[in-house]
């Protein structure tokens, strides 16, 4: 199994790479952070003795992606699975963020994800099933004031993946959307979980379990994976409660946690 992982040097990317390495998959890892890529490559090779190729790439830059694709074509690498992990968020309300930061969220989470998905689908291994995972978020289930751009970008991925799944059903392609709650990957995520108190802990998903289940479920042909019973209940209510009400509750909740940052 040849697997490409984007955002491979971050917390979830590393956990998914570990999970694939444990299964003996051959890996092609990309990330903007070249040092991080080399570190995880070393770790995977030492732990699992699997072939790991890396290419540092800014997925928001078409030239950078083309350069990586040239490398892939030159070495005739073809894939069976694509794990779209690369994504970002910036803390703070809409007017509290820099204009270009907001645009960058959409550029990476959406535009760049479409770019790489199209490119790698065109480079799938012929005659074999293909699997795509989009890393969305529990935030995709709700309108989320104070995280409006991020949540909407993740909603885009959820809707896009659902449509793409239908479109490619006859091409032997399975598309899974992962919608996790919080996951502990960095010092900042620990602070954020602590700041949210009970709800922070309750909606946090164990990283290693999410990684393992994501691969299992993607290979089993599932379409969406919301880790954690409480998160599944929350996402259910997100579907039946009027969206304006949800927005009001979420705004009240985040304001409690972060202070009123919408105008700052």
């Amino acid at each position: 199994m040849n697997v490409m992982i984007t955002g491979a040097s971050g917390g979830l990317g590393r956990a998914l790479a570990n999970e694939c390495g444990r299964r003996g998959y051959k890996l092609f890892l990309t990330d903007i952070n070249e040092d991080g890529l080399l570190c995880i490559k070393r770790g995977l090779e030492r732990q699992f003795d699997v072939p790991v190729a890396t290419a540092a790439c800014d997925l928001t830059n078409a030239e950078s992606v083309d350069k990586m694709l040239d490398f892939i074509d030159k070495h005739e690498i073809r894939f069976d699975m694509l794990l779209n992990v690369a994504g970002l968020d910036f803390e703070g309300g809409f007017l509290g963020r820099e204009r270009e930061e907001l645009v960058k969220i959409v550029l990476l989470n959406n535009a760049a994800t479409l770019r790489i998905t199209h490119a790698i689908l065109k480079r799938r291994r012929p005659g074999r099933p293909f699997t795509i995972v989009f890393v969305s978020s529990l935030a995709s289930m709700f309108p989320m004031p104070i995280k409006a751009t991020y949540a909407a970008s993740k909603r885009f991925l959820l809707d896009f993946a659902t449509s793409l799944r239908q479109e490619l059903k006859n091409e032997d392609v399975n598309v899974l959307t992962l919608c996790p709650g919080g996951m502990v990957t960095t010092h900042e995520t620990i602070c954020s979980i602590k700041a949210q108190g009970f709800w922070g802990n309750a909606t946090t998903n164990p990283l290693e379990g999410v990684a393992r289940n994501t691969i299992d479920r993607a290979l089993a042909g599932e379409s969406i994976y919301v880790p954690g019973m409480l998160n599944r209940v929350l996402s259910f209510f997100g579907k039946i409660i009027p969206r304006s009400w949800v927005a009001a509750v979420v705004y009240w909740r985040w304001k409690e946690v972060t202070g009123d940052v919408s105008m700052s």
């Binding site: 570190c39 770790g43 732990q47 802990n201 164990p206």
Partner: protein, 286 residues
């Protein structure tokens, strides 16, 4: 003047040990992650003893490239100031986690810091230890008992349990010390593990949350001050001739787990060498 390296030296047991050893006239090289805390620790030691020989090196030992970098800096210092001799290395830095988190290499953090960082640092400083016929002292714990190393999933990726991960990392500490003694006791290097007991430090409240944070906040109140276990480190540094035991609590030898065998120690050595991409037997001894 004999030189001693202490990791995790800016707070808790490491700081107290540095304080006691500088008061006994040792030249102490501390390693810690936060520069501001290093500066505060140095000020504290010097305010009590203006003649103390204390130097801090900043490094995040969780990441292997940082271990290698700081080891090179220390080797340079030892070559320049101490005839390349290191009298003792105290692998004390450690952590507790509430969740599965990984280092840049993708290694589980408790295993990476509590065991692999010391394993790699000791390897890097082995020539200097050999020159001084030095000692390696590792901070262990009574919690190494009642557990086996999960050889098929040493990073505990399957159903991660933070307490099991901690206990296993502490078992690895004593297996590493045993492995060192098996290999280097004949060359004059001895390794020891100290059980500090329950100590009132913040180890369980750093980068943790939920239950782990809550339980540690309650538990540590019943712990002894760091100065109590620090005496055992000082004892092991100063005893002459070198003590021949492996596991010490309150300056006395103590019984350790039946899992501490040469077979398990060799298995851990082999695994750790692979994870650090090093070979102890290739170290040039002087």
């Amino acid at each position: 003047m004999d030189t001693i390296v202490i990791t995790g030296a800016s707070s808790g047991i490491g700081l107290e040990t540095a304080r006691i050893l500088t008061n006994h006239g040792f030249n102490v090289l501390g390693i810690a992650r936060c520069e501001a805390k290093c500066n505060r620790a140095k000020e504290r030691i010097l305010s009590e003893n203006p003649d103390a020989k204390i130097t801090f090196f900043v490094a995040d030992l969780m990441q292997q490239r940082e271990v290698v970098r700081v080891a090179e800096e220390i080797t340079f210092y030892l070559d320049k100031n101490c005839n390349g001799k290191l009298y003792a290395l105290i692998n004390n830095a450690g952590c507790v986690r509430s969740w599965y988190m990984t280092t840049d290499e993708g290694y589980e953090q408790q295993f990476a810091l509590n065991h692999l960082a010391g394993f790699l640092l000791t390897y890097k400083l082995l020539p200097a230890l050999k020159k001084a016929q030095g000692r390696v002292i590792i901070t262990g714990s009574k919690s190494h008992k009642g557990i086996k190393v999960r050889w098929d999933d040493v990073m505990l990726c399957h159903r991660y349990n933070p307490l099991i991960a901690y206990k296993q990392s502490k078992l690895c500490n004593i297996l590493f010390a045993k492995g060192l003694n098996d290999r280097y006791a004949a060359a004059g290097i001895r390794a020891y593990v100290v059980d500090p007991g329950l100590v009132n430090t913040d180890i369980g409240n750093k980068e943790t949350g939920g239950l782990v944070n809550f339980i540690w906040a309650l538990r540590k109140r019943h712990g002894v001050p760091p100065a109590v276990p620090a005496k055992t480190y000082a004892f092991l540094c100063m005893q002459k001739p070198m003590p021949e035991g492996l596991y010490y609590y309150l300056c006395k030898e103590k019984k350790y787990s039946g899992q501490v065998t040469s077979e398990n120690a060799n298995r851990l050595f082999e695994l750790s060498e692979r994870l650090c991409d090093i070979r102890y037997e290739e170290v040039e001894m002087v």
